[in-house]
Amino acid sequence: MAVVRIPTVLRPHTGGEARVEVDGATVGEVLTALVADNPALAERLLEDGKVRGYVNVFVDDEDIRYLDGEGTAVPAGAEISIMPAVAGGAR
């Protein structure tokens, strides 16, 4: 069982919940379970079953891009954080 921290911007899609407990041994499994329980999150988090490019996902505050991506192991009691990226530019 892992705890997923939901940022304010995504709480309208979790019924206002800031922390959601879901099962899963990897980040991919956790996110799949999360969107199964909260379908409105699916299009914001995933694309073709992968984490969208402009969504940051962390396991215990480590960005999964620098771990094993969706295959990153989720130890029991780990905390998963999700945060839409902030990006832009002059062009």
Binding site: V9, G88, G89
Partner: protein
């Protein structure tokens, strides 16, 4: 949402996008301009946290791209900065600099805007002698300017 619905005295978090103006104390404006110059000609970025009493916290976040045309907030710094905003129930302003163009959201800014309750502030150094800050809501591709009041 009208400005009259903004709760500035109660315990509810500030929702920046509901404000009728972005009020920046002079020292905050100066800090934003100084930050924009600090890595010129590269774009800089960060968050502002709006307190209910009008104070404004400046939280610079590293630009992971270090580019003149593009910014991506460093993910771990963004996580820390955003947690501080949430934990302290501050209103969220997302800022970045345009070093060579006007302070208007680009197509890139609009495409990537993922925070409908935030104000998006842009610091422009286009006129080196007259740096300026403008602010916008960006919701579902729609850009609405919100006045910036300095002082």
């Amino acid at each position: 949402m009208s400005a009259a619905s903004v709760d500035t005295t109660g315990e509810r978090p500030v929702v920046a996008a509901h404000l009728d103006a972005l009020r920046l104390p002079q020292d905050v404006f100066d800090a934003l301009v100084a930050h924009a110059w600090s890595d010129f000609p590269y774009e800089v970025c960060g968050l502002l946290g709006l307190q209910r009493d009008g104070r404004v916290e400046v939280i610079p976040v590293a630009n992971a791209e270090r580019s003149m045309r593009y910014y991506v907030m460093d993910s771990r710094e963004l996580l820390r900065a955003m947690r501080r905003i949430e934990d302290e129930e501050l209103g969220l302003v997302i800022y970045h600099s345009h070093t060579h163009t006007q302070a208007y959201p680009s197509a890139t800014d609009i495409r990537h805007a993922a925070y409908p309750d935030a104000l998006y502030a842009i610091v422009t150094l286009e006129d080196h002698d007259a740096p300026a800050v403008r602010a916008y809501t960006i919701r579902a591709g729609a850009v609405v300017e919100v006045p910036v009041v300095v002082g």
